[in-house]
Symmetry: C2
Subunit: 111 residues, 2 copies
DNA sequence: GCTTAATATTGATAAATGTCGATGCATGAC
DNA sequence: GTCATGCATCGACATTTATCAATATTAAGC
């Protein structure tokens, strides 16, 4: 379930925080919700149309979601289509559990 | 399960983002993990001891967790003790599901 | 090749955030 | 009352982040 036994007992708080940071923005949540609800992948143009922010800003938010590996993308012609990473929701759920289910005294860490 | 039927179909992305923002910091995650793992409530002094940040900064992070209603606190003498809000984990889990489980086309919203 | 359209990137700016030192506010001991 | 201690708040500063306009890139059509 983990790699081998569970050698990483203490959550990597920086990584977890980075993941939460990626979803800590209303536009990025709207994008993710759109992707999650969509039958297939979604054109960037849908976001530039639907959201009250300019195209570069949409691109910026998509980049953050890409770098957090919460979405994947694919170019088809001039258009680029996004879809949620298959494990997006699961990874955030795992982060949640890593924080809230006791790894014993994993809490106040070494330094 | 919801109020009556489900009159709020579209997720309130601002509220959800605010919740994720509250946990989008490594020190706040460490604090939450400590609280979640603790038998009973935890003195602020434990955080000022354990974390490599000054007392006002600890207070700042605790305030953000308070304002997100992810923790509750109680004064006992000179000391203040924190514990996780009973629904802290559940609220974040609900936020996750609100984003990733289709409210149909709740996605690219009105404006 | 040239042109147009969709998206990404760059650079600048403003706002939000994390951090700290100084100060204030309670509480308990005296 | 005074003093000391634990924590919160305030104000300043530095870093990060969101946003935009301008530009670059990529692909398709000509």
């Amino acid at each position: 379930m983990h790699d081998r036994d569970h050698p990483e007992r203490r959550p990597d708080f920086d990584r977890l925080a980075a993941l939460f940071k990626a979803v800590a923005d209303p536009y990025r949540l709207r994008i993710l919700a759109t992707l999650a609800a969509a039958e297939d992948d979604v054109c960037v143009c849908e976001f530039t149309d639907a959201l009250p922010i300019n195209q570069p800003t949409v691109s910026h938010h998509l980049r953050i979601l890409r770098e957090a590996e919460l979405v994947t993308w694919e170019r088809r012609g001039t258009w680029v289509y996004y879809r949620p990473a298959p494990d997006a929701s699961a990874r955030i759920g795992a982060a949640l559990r890593a924080i809230f289910t006791q790894p014993a005294h994993a809490s106040t860490a070494p330094r």
